[in-house]
Symmetry: C2
Subunit: 406 residues, 2 copies
């Protein structure tokens, strides 16, 4: 597996573009992704009962339409809580992409992110689609331009591409995603788009995505708010020329491994770029009875406001971590827990069997002051484990969210 | 029902005192509550799997001991994650109170709040008990002194007393409580102590408390972190001389009403004095199918970091409220929701059937800028309702919690 350039436009046959259309004040706000040939498409979507119009639209398209060939995305306005008008605007976006790219309307997927409750400015959206179509390209700059256009409060663009071998052929997979608030995915994260030239059946493409988001996007939390618009879309155009994957064979697991690499990479980038965040928190719960238990405990820790605020202050208030485990809704024995802190500065055991271990306080503070901290809780019950990612809670989180729609 | 002075020491036979012993740097840090005669005792405790030693101690005492006659409380150190030593310190605290007040050791309840993971400084605790016993009193100043001594990051003491008639007798009920972080009670809140001179059976006393905390303390959230030390204790010494309440008759419901008055009062005071809070948020969900649904939805709204940050910024980002309802885990139809905002500045309908209603934006901002805001969501499904309380999320919340143990 090798990291390469190109992001969402890296895989054979894929093109991308990003543009400023005026939906937002300054930054690029629309992206278009296009495949020369029809693709198999898979998608996972928010479990929030309040779903954005684009989520409802895509859920149906991914399920019913045999192929997808383009994704159009806008940032700035989420098209959520917008009633029938919102649904009609999704259709109009797809129609405009269909006309401009000369592809079937039911092969266009749509996504929106931004403020809830406002209608899309359709004049800007339609102007954007008209002007994105002619500038589609497959250079690294084109991928980057699209990745920039889907950002909202993100401070960094998030893209990656990798190549690997399957059936003697070089396969490429690339993607882009965006955070960074209302992040507590349940099914998938905010917006993530992945393209690959692998040849695979639609069923296995969907299965791979559904399986993998459980261990990646669903294990991050920035603020505990599950968005209304969470969407991950995965397109495969088959142009790598590998023998089509139609069963769970070695090729499938190689593909799953590559998908996991990209989704884990994105999960960490989203967590560390959480609104206002200054650091990435990785939490491992090991030696659990079952995976579900390890997931609940690790996710509870990364979701705890008190732990997150303590992390921001580099304040070694470890009781908050045990407290967060205690209300996670998973059973364990507090009196047998060991807790480790680890970062570039070193590793220490902070708690042994539920009470404070003797450790070097200076070293502990140094470890907790790094921009990436790993906490490991050994609950000594079995052999299962899980990892969750989060970030610290800072003044800037409050600032960003106190002023967001103003 | 009449509000009177005296707080925890208002009811006949009850005495209280507060003292600075040096556990904390400056403020009073120990309180003692004493009843001249043995009391029936009821208690509710945290559901966190990680329970402070005093919680484990009291759970057993309330269950097994026939009477209670004193409560000793310290702030500054929680005596949690302290192993066998922590349990032994609870016993030593009870023993010292027993000796100093000449009452049975199993009639002493203990409570601690503060940092997790440190052992209690027993020299200061024992000195405190010795010096609290002689200064017990039943003036309003004594009640206030005790209420001050249990505060941690609270900015205001929380106490109240009321009197009401039962069976031709005047009954008094008073109490004190403390917040203000790690507040997301599940069974009860941080620390709440209520004393009353009513005559009632132990079974009904416990039943009344258990029932009422479901609608009061369990409906507040400051930060989503359920504490390890949540405790509410209710003592009744019977000195009012009313016919003992031994069944769910009118007298019982009058008592329940009084208890609800005090617990609702405390719930609102804890929410509005949440760490760093500048405002109180009250959320009503009305016309729900069942109470559980209304509770889940209302509690999800007051717990949403994004809603809370928007409230701090007086930012009318109502989509976050619908979003929080959507991930509450309770079923409803987003397309039929009406949403109202109300405060001293007026009342408006912000959402009608799931989409933005037409309203006066200036008035809406004025309403949202008051220090007490009521949000009502009408979900049009049935006749049940619930109320939850919370506060805004501010820079100061982060500041307080980034530096708490340093």
């Amino acid at each position: 597996m090798k990291i390469i350039e190109g992001g969402i436009a890296a895989a054979k046959g894929f093109y991308a573009a990003g543009l400023f259309t005026g939906i937002k004040n300054k930054r690029k706000d629309m992206a278009l992704v296009y495949s020369k040939v029809p693709c198999k498409a898979a998608g996972t979507f928010t479990t929030n009962l309040v779903k954005g119009a684009p989520v409802k639209y895509d859920m149906e398209m991914v399920k019913l339409s045999p192929y997808a060939q383009a994704i159009v995305v806008n940032s700035g306005v989420a098209n959520t809580c917008t009633g029938k008008t919102g649904m009609e605007y999704c259709r109009q976006m797809a129609e405009a992409v269909s006309t401009n790219l000369n592809i079937p309307q039911d092969s266009v997927l749509v996504a929106s992110t931004g403020i809830i409750g406002k209608q899309l400015p359709m004049d800007k959206i339609l102007w954007g689609i008209e002007n994105l179509a002619p500038i589609l390209g497959n250079s690294p700059e084109d991928g980057t331009s699209a990745a920039e256009a889907i950002m909202t409060t993100d401070t960094k663009k998030k893209e990656i591409a990798i190549e690997f071998e399957i059936g003697g052929k070089t396969v490429v997979m690339g993607g882009m995603c965006k955070g960074s608030g209302m992040i507590h995915p349940n099914m998938c994260t905010m917006l993530g788009f992945i393209t690959t030239d692998i040849s695979i059946s639609k069923e296995l493409l969907q299965e791979a995505l559904c399986t993998n988001v459980q261990d990646t996007y669903n294990m991050i939390s920035v603020d505990g708010d599950t968005s209304t618009n969470d969407t991950v879309l995965l397109l495969a155009d088959g142009m790598a020329g590998n023998p089509e994957i139609t069963e769970r064979n070695d090729d499938y697991y190689k593909f799953l491994e590559a998908l996991n690499y990209i989704n884990t990479y994105f999960s960490k980038r989203i967590a560390e770029d959480g609104e206002g965040a200054t650091s990435l928190l990785e939490v491992n719960v090991i030696n659990a009875d079952c995976k579900e238990q390890a997931k609940k405990l690790s996710k509870s820790i990364v979701s705890s406001n008190l732990t997150k605020a303590a992390m921001f202050g580099h304040d070694l208030n470890w009781g908050r971590i045990l407290c967060a485990m205690g209300y996670a809704g998973a059973n364990f024995n507090p009196d047998t827990v060991d807790l480790y802190f680890e970062s570039n500065a070193g590793k220490i055991k902070l708690i042994e069997n539920g009470v404070e271990a003797s450790f070097n306080m200076e070293l502990a503070k140094d470890i907790f002051s790094e921009s990436e901290v790993i906490i490991t809780a050994d609950i000594k019950m079995g052999n299962e484990k899980a990892t969750a990612w989060g970030c610290d809670l800072t003044y800037d989180y409050v600032k960003i969210n106190a002023e967001y729609s103003s």
